[in-house]
Symmetry: C2
């Protein structure tokens, strides 16, 4: 159902004909004052549910236009992880004005969550979960569950802790439902569970959830104390985000931004940095070509094959870089695989380079030559240059991202265009060295 | 804990020191006979848990070496979605030998699941879930839950169906736990739930799970009958898989394969198709350059800027294609956005093209020219060619993937290298047309 106005969207939410995320989707294309109008028609809980699903930039803008007293009540009702992200985004003076108006329990919760660095498991987790004590009976645990967050869904697992809040194990709601009331948690707790440390990198989450096939995983601190819970649906967001980054990096497209809602200027700014860096390496290639002008003056036929060589090198490198960037990111390729991977790519490069070299040499044999040797020498030059370029491109396409990751630079700096541009430089040098040896034997024009 | 041998791995699994997926990880690098040795130390359920986590190709190989009678018992105990994928993979004559040995209930379940086409929601779902009748009481529902799959986890939601197996609503285990025994399901069922049609495309799953923040979603057929359940952790796999495809497509790297375990020949075969296609377009560029040889003979200085122009066009196109391929895949960009997107990229292209054009023209002004006009005319030619190339690359980088999707070709056919190679062809023509007009005024060497 598509609403006709922000106020109509509010009505559809109240009648349960729209989900808060659908209302948020509708509002995101509207003016800020229309969003405010819609929210003002909702009670604080409904408003919180909608705000939660809005873009962070819009949430941020709302803080400036909605009176702090009201915004504080909405924030109290937002999901713990989302509101912590919002508070992190606010300038200090705005946060200082807003935070004292938020109830103490929620304020402390925000402070705890906001303390986790971006890209850690702690920054992804929520603090909504059900927890019972190890020495509780099943009946007590059920009562506890009824008491905790009465309206909320707290997930499939109940976490069992000791008196020091250390996580002892988990009990599924199914087990809790089927157990006898007088059993103790001690008897039914599953101590053989998977947990995540709050400081762990978020890029390990996808692997953990998909490997152990879990709906949610408890998060503990260094001392083994329960601090939160991560749900599989939040991990879907993390995995999508990491994939967005991988593909933008490969394409040298800058950071992923909200494309449709960003201005042309904003998009251009995101992209121009890489384009300028690549123009600089392109200018190096130009200068090299200028340096070899003597060869070109004598045998302009050599020019014909330069784009073919550079293009093939770029394509071969791009394939390898795609595989390596993705493999490093998903954990399929690890640091100890480095030599195996590089050696593999070198052999793949030789193999496909041979095939492409034969094609290129074949084309060169059909070319009318001038200055230097005849078609056979030209074919040999072009064919060998192709094999060298493709092998080099595949080798560098594997070595550079791995090396960058090894020395703790972001392997994402190694985009396919960047690797191509490095290969271009080497290709030009290699091509003219081969031409000097094979096409201009004994009479170098350099 | 890293096992020292396949038999040791089996022991560690039995003592719960290793998870089946960890045993599978360990076995995947071993010989097939070692895998068989490990499995033969396990009971059928443990063996099934391990086999489930092995690569499909290895599962497939096991069917050939393990006697059908034993394999059938293992398959009966595997997860419904995984075993259906395995049976789909078998040649008809092998499946015909194996299936009659599998118990009837499981055989029918396999047939039902195997009937769903790849990439549909039905192919991702499992048939393990808890179901109760609308007219049951809470006490009856609890009893039913105890009866169904006693050892299994069936998820956070119990599905409520009517006498025709139509899905009426869902009840969380939490509600079932906290409800009074004499209440009827009718009173506590949530009829406002999200469900998925089994025929829906799997690429919609990520969006649904992350939007509605669900641990699992029921799957229904056209008639609204409950046929399965999809869990968020399975969707993580789907999202990873789609992201792998996106990044391989952008890099023209063929289909995603198990990189580390594939042979050099296999990898080369996966990549050579695209490289050969791109060599063909590269040869068109070569032939064009040959056609413009007259210009080059007169002014070899023009050559110097060809790689710079082609490189920049390729880079600009690669950025746009990355954004568009990913946007189309995640649903951020939809068909009705086409003109907005294309117009946006055209303007971004003009803007960044202008910046790169100024750089390129500046370099040209510093070049010693020969034949044709002086440095100023050269700078004008190169600068304008750069603006045209970059704008064209960004426009084509957006138009072509969208067009391909529109006419129901896979937009993935539009890799960044392919778009670059098309831009190369147009760049050469545009460059020499501009040179003809500006650099060789009144004295065309063509």
């Amino acid at each position: 159902m598509e609403p006709t106005s922000p106020r109509a969207a509010a009505e559809l939410l109240k009648s349960h004909d729209l989900h808060p995320s659908e209302v948020a989707d509708f509002l995101e294309d509207r003016e800020l004052r229309e969003i405010v109008a819609c929210l003002s028609d909702l009670d604080e809980q409904d408003a919180a549910d909608v705000v939660e699903h809005l873009d962070l930039a819009i949430q941020r803008a709302l803080v400036d236009v909605i009176p702090h007293g009201h915004m504080a009540k909405v924030i109290e009702r937002m999901a713990p992880d989302v509101r912590a992200d919002l508070i992190k985004e606010l300038p200090d003076e705005v946060a200082d004005g807003l935070l004292p108006l938020i109830a103490q329990a929620e304020r402390q919760d925000i402070a705890r969550l906001a303390a986790y660095e971006e890209d850690t498991a702690g920054s992804v987790m929520t603090t909504e979960y059900a927890v019972v004590n190890l020495d509780d009976t099943v009946a007590m645990a059920r009562e506890e569950l009824r008491r905790q967050a009465p309206g909320e869904e707290t997930g499939y697992y109940v976490y069992v802790i000791d008196s020091g809040r250390r996580l002892i194990g988990i009990v599924s709601l199914r087990e809790l439902l089927l157990a006898r009331s007088d059993q103790h948690m001690e008897e039914i707790v599953d101590r053989d569970y998977v947990s995540i440390n709050a400081e762990d990198d978020q890029d390990t989450l996808g692997d953990i959830f998909s490997r152990y096939e879990l709906p949610s995983v408890p998060v503990t601190d260094e001392a083994g104390r329960l601090v939160g819970r991560i749900t599989a649906d939040d991990v879907i967001d993390v995995v999508e985000e990491e994939a967005d980054e991988d593909i933008y990096h490969l394409g040298a497209a800058g950071r992923p931004i909200d494309y449709l809602r960003s201005s042309v200027l904003r998009i251009a700014r995101e992209r121009i940095t890489w384009l300028l860096i690549l123009v600089v390496t392109g200018l190096i290639t130009s200068t090299l070509l200028q340096h070899y002008r003597g060869y070109l003056d004598q045998a302009v036929v050599l020019v014909i094959f330069i784009p073919l060589l550079m293009g093939s090198g770029g394509n071969a490198g791009s394939q390898t870089t795609a595989v390596i960037i993705r493999g490093l990111s998903t954990g399929e390729i690890e640091m100890h695989d480095v030599w195996r991977v590089v050696f593999k790519e070198m052999r793949v490069g030789l193999l496909v380079g041979l095939a492409l070299g034969v094609c290129a040499a074949g084309r060169a044999l059909l070319t009318h030559t001038n200055g230097g040797g005849g078609p056979v020498r030209l074919g040999l030059t072009v064919g060998l240059a192709m094999i060298a370029t493709v092998t080099l491109a595949k080798t560098l396409g594997a070595v550079l991202p791995i090396l960058f990751k090894k020395i703790h630079l972001d392997p994402a700096l190694m985009s396919a265009p960047f690797i191509s541009s490095i290969v271009d430089v080497v290709t030009v040098i290699g091509y003219f060295v081969l031409a000097d040896l094979i096409y201009f034997p004994g009479s170098s024009p350099g």
